[in-house]
């Protein structure tokens, strides 16, 4: 989960994600598009993949090519995380009410 935030904090990775969410692309195509070395793109893809934002499949026609697909469902995890965080604060602020009740009035 922590990786999703890290993964999308980088502008290049956001660009990559946007691009492949339009249509899947392979690493060569992405390297060309970003004027970036193949290893550099691969590294970004790896980070996106580790956070479940990208899925890689071998091309059905050319098995050497690996296509990158966006999986933006992972962002639902971000949403779920924030909901949990909200519940945490709700609980703590309830605690505060109880604490204030308990505490002798000055």
């Amino acid at each position: 989960m922590s990786d999703v935030f890290k993964a999308i904090a980088d502008p290049t990775r956001r660009e990559i994600l946007m691009m492949i969410s339009e249509s899947p692309r392979n690493i060569n195509q992405l390297s060309e598009q970003f004027a970036m070395s193949r290893p550099a793109v691969s590294k970004h893809i790896r980070i996106l993949r580790e956070s479940n934002l990208v899925r890689i499949e071998h091309d059905k026609v050319d098995g050497r090519q690996r296509n990158c697909y966006a999986q933006l469902e992972a962002l639902a995890e971000v949403d779920a995380y924030l909901k949990k965080l909200e519940a945490f604060w709700e609980g703590r602020l309830d605690n505060l009410a109880q604490f204030l009740q308990r505490k002798p009035k000055q």
């Binding site: 935030f5 946007m18 962002l75 995380y81 605690n95 505060l96 204030l100």
Partner: protein, 139 residues
């Protein structure tokens, strides 16, 4: 997706008591999480929370703003959250009651760009037409 977490509460206690609960180390440790807080601008402190996979349970904070009996904010960094901001604004209500406006923000920079741009997928097509295609044609 929410830009920030906001909670609005009313407490049956005067502003002074709520302020003490927000800024007294022992009080804060009791109702929020154990910490060594000092109400000093720029003060660094930590909260100890429950560790979970990928999170050691330590939240690092720094006091960012403090206005006596009105406003307190500190940074909140731990686990997936880095440099987010927590703030408490309190104001007196009739009958010795207090309103608290709580906010936890700082997620938008990371998330919104992605979401907004995803929604505006046409924006991406636009960018291709506006930037990449002309560049390509100019070659």
């Amino acid at each position: 997706m929410a830009k920030s977490i906001k909670v609005d509460r009313e407490y049956d206690a005067p502003v002074e008591a709520v302020w003490a609960a927000l800024t007294d180390n022992e009080d804060l440790s009791e109702w929020l999480k154990p910490c060594k807080f000092e109400p000093i601008l720029g003060y660094d402190f930590e909260f100890r929370t429950k560790p979970s996979p990928g999170f050691d349970g330590i939240v690092s904070c720094k006091v960012l703003e403090i206005i006596n009996q009105q406003f307190l904010s500190f940074s909140w960094s731990g686990g997936s959250l880095q440099n987010t901001v927590v703030s408490f604004r309190i104001s007196p209500l009739p009958n010795n009651r207090t309103r608290l406006q709580f906010e936890h923000s700082g997620f938008e920079g990371l998330i919104n760009k992605l979401i907004v741009r995803r929604i505006l997928a046409s924006g991406w097509k636009h960018k291709i037409l506006k930037n990449y295609l002309p560049e390509y044609l100019a070659k």
